[in-house]
Amino acid sequence: MFLLPATDDAVTSVTAPLSAPVKVSFESAGRWFEALRLRRRHKHSLSHHSLQSSSSEESDNEEIEEEDNLILLQGLDPKEWKQQDHYAVLGISKLRYKATENQIKKAYKSMVLKHHPDKRKARGLKVGDGEDDYFTCITRAYEILGNKLKRRSYDSVDPQFDNDVPPADEESKKNFFKVFGPVFERNSR
């Protein structure tokens, strides 16, 4: 099908209204009817509504606060890596066992970008020899926390875990949820 070129005096114009609509009663069945019905009910135009309710992937995008742990890192002894606080090394000491796998991965990657020996050399900083560099500690930390099983065993003996239970006195009985809520939350995993 072709369209003709416009004649000189032709302009965009409306000449007649659309014929009056007819009301038709349809059967209330089928997905197209359902889509049309919901669209009409919510006064949406076609573009606003997609048929499949898009199940957006659960976002894991909680921003991780960057913790400044340069001093901690520089003070680390690679030989003593077993004693270190892995969460603190990766800069997520506040999240601890609550950190999701994605957050740990993200934290590790950002640490690598900052502290990799090559990066630091390029910036003109002093780098330790091979195994002696504190970067090893970061890799070790990720080796533990990046592995589900190892992370679980580390979490279960986490030295930083707050194991305190407030005393059951008059005061705490009054504000039971306020006082014990966090305790239950900590111990409920």
């Binding site: 099908m1 072709f2 369209l3 003709l4 070129p5 416009a6 004649t7 032709a10 302009v11 965009t12 114009s13 409306v14 000449t15 007649a16 209204p17 659309l18 014929s19 009056a20 609509p21 007819v22 009301k23 038709v24 009663s25 349809f26 059967e27 209330s28 069945a29 089928g30 997905r31 197209w32 009817f33 359902e34 049309l36 019905r37 919901l38 669209r39 009409r40 009910r41 006064k43 135009s45 076609l46 573009s47």
Partner: protein, 506 residues
């Protein structure tokens, strides 16, 4: 999440489930895929289904069947009166509604049709439970299209009482279309579908128009003259005659003999749907005389010649009622238990020889499966309740098209929205101009006959000038819910835009 479709028929009920993208029928505790809609009251308990049906020979006056026919109907209704005259169960009038008076646990009690239907729904619910998926049973019911609002309401109430959460009640012919996914995948399909439901007790023939994914029942005819039970009767009469010829005994003298004969005949009829030959053998049919015989399919077919003719005649009837000629029917769906005999299906498909026949799903399960598919569409939505008049939708009365020219510079019409397109709608087209063309004009018209450009009435004209070479114009047609048509033309490279709004005639 599982979603259920329930089809409560006059003679039998069927339950289908949609789960993990698949629809299937749920077999009841006996392993049968359909449950007879029969409720029996005995001195021990209340039984539903096959057990009740089997016991009916000895317990005729306390066995209630065909409850669907009277459920939700007042006493004065001719259908009710006819039902009462035939019923072996004692029926009384209470406040304008009927109640069955039955002997239950050695006491006479009243059972309303609602009680009976609820008992059957409860049985279905148990079947649903056995499928094991928690206690939420989102379901869709299917009822005949000629049912009144009152009847639909009563059905819904019975199902809710039994523990189903009823999302919606849909019409049986539409459920049949859904079962075969007609128009569900591709909403551009436009055709007329004949749904032939040959049930146990009545026959419904409907023509459903499918257009833009939406369904409209154009016409429907319902009769009790042809039905599964009539086929059984013909065969039973034939066997009774044979018995009479052999032993000079008339089984009609005894009600129990007649029941026994009917039971045996029904089994024989079912066998004949799959095998060429079937045996009938009844011990002590009448006055202690045993009866053995065999029937061939050909014999059964010749006996039913009359009935099959009536079946076919119904197609003409429904065509006349819905103003559709039988050659305009493109698809046929055969459903209902009575449509199982191969010669019945063949007669229908021979009569509508240019139509595509759908019969891959077992006929007595089609409607339940369709209902389950509808339940799957609805389950999980929050606002499923249908408001009054919500299924009445404004549609275009004429086809909207654009007028273009073919290679010989003769005008042609290119349809954008077919007539009966519901509001709102949107469509996008891409037009390519010839390479050197730098301007264009486009007429938007409405017409009733796309083949005949002279009859088209021009609504608006869109003119675009100073376009770059090799222009590519995307045109968006937007039919708004209030009825106006909005057209936007955009040239892709230069972003020149030209738009126009055509109001609706008030």
């Amino acid at each position: 999440m599982a979603a259920f479709g329930v089809h409560f028929g006059t003679t039998s009920a069927c339950l289908a489930v949609y789960k993990d993208g698949k629809t299937d029928v749920v077999a009841n505790d006996l392993g049968d895929r359909t449950t007879p809609c029969v409720v029996a009251y005995t001195d021990l308990d209340q039984t539903v289904g096959a057990a009740a049906k089997q016991g009916s020979i000895r317990n005729t006056q306390n066995t209630i069947s065909f409850v669907k026919r009277v459920l939700g109907r007042p006493w004065e209704d001719p259908v009710t009166q006819e039902y009462i005259s035939k019923s072996p169960v004692k029926i009384e009038n209470r406040n304008g509604g009927l109640v069955y008076v039955v002997d239950f646990k050695e006491k006479m009690i009243d059972a309303t049709p609602v009680d009976v239907a609820t008992a059957i729904y409860k049985q279905m619910k148990e079947t649903a439970n056995s499928h094991g998926d928690g206690d939420i049973h989102d379901s869709v019911l299917a009822v005949p299209s000629q049912f009144s609002e009152e009847q639909r309401k009563v059905f819904g109430e019975c199902a809710s009482k039994a523990g189903f959460s009823v999302l919606r009640t849909i019409n049986e012919p539409v459920a049949a279309l859904l079962a075969y996914d007609l128009g569900q995948m591709d909403n551009t399909l436009h055709c007329n579908v004949l749904v032939y439901r040959l049930g146990g007790d009545s026959t419904d023939v409907s023509i459903v128009q499918l257009q833009g994914g939406l369904y409209r029942i154009l016409g429907n005819t319902c009769t009790q003259e042809v039905a599964g039970s009539k086929f059984t009767n013909v065969l039973a009469d034939f066997l009774a005659q044979e018995f009479y010829k052999k032993y000079k005994l008339d089984i009609k003298e005894s009600r129990r003999s007649v029941s026994k004969m009917r039971m045996a005949t029904e089994v024989c009829k079912h066998t004949l749907s799959t095998l060429e030959n079937a045996q009938v053998s009844i011990d002590s049919l009448h006055e202690g005389v045993d009866f053995h015989s065999s029937v061939s399919r050909a014999r059964f077919e010749s006996l039913c010649g009359n009935l099959v003719q009536k079946c076919v005649a119904l197609i003409d009837d429904v065509c006349a009622k819905s103003n559709v000629s039988s050659s305009d029917i493109e698809k046929v769906i055969v459903c209902g238990g009575g449509a199982k005999p191969p010669f019945v299906q063949k007669a229908i498909s021979d009569y509508l020889s240019n139509a595509e026949v759908f019969n891959t799903i077992p006929p007595d399960e089609v409607i339940a499966i369709g209902a389950a598919k509808q339940a799957a569409i609805l389950t999980g939505n929050n606002d499923n309740e249908l408001l009054i008049g919500e299924n009445e939708i404004e549609c275009l009365s004429k086809t909207v098209c654009i007028k273009g020219y073919d290679a010989n510079k003769d005008p042609v019409l290119y349809p954008i929205f077919q007539e009966m397109t519901p509001f709102p709608a949107r469509r996008q087209e891409v037009m390519n101009l010839s390479p050197q063309q730098t301007s264009m004009e486009m007429d938007i018209c409405e017409c009733t006959d796309v083949e005949n450009p002279d009859t088209a009435k021009c609504l608006a004209k869109i003119v675009m000038k100073d376009l770059p070479e090799k222009a590519c114009i995307s045109v968006t047609f937007h039919l708004r819910s209030e009825g106006s048509l909005h057209v936007t033309c955009r040239e892709e490279t230069s972003q020149i835009v030209e738009q126009v709004t055509v109001d609706v005639c008030s």
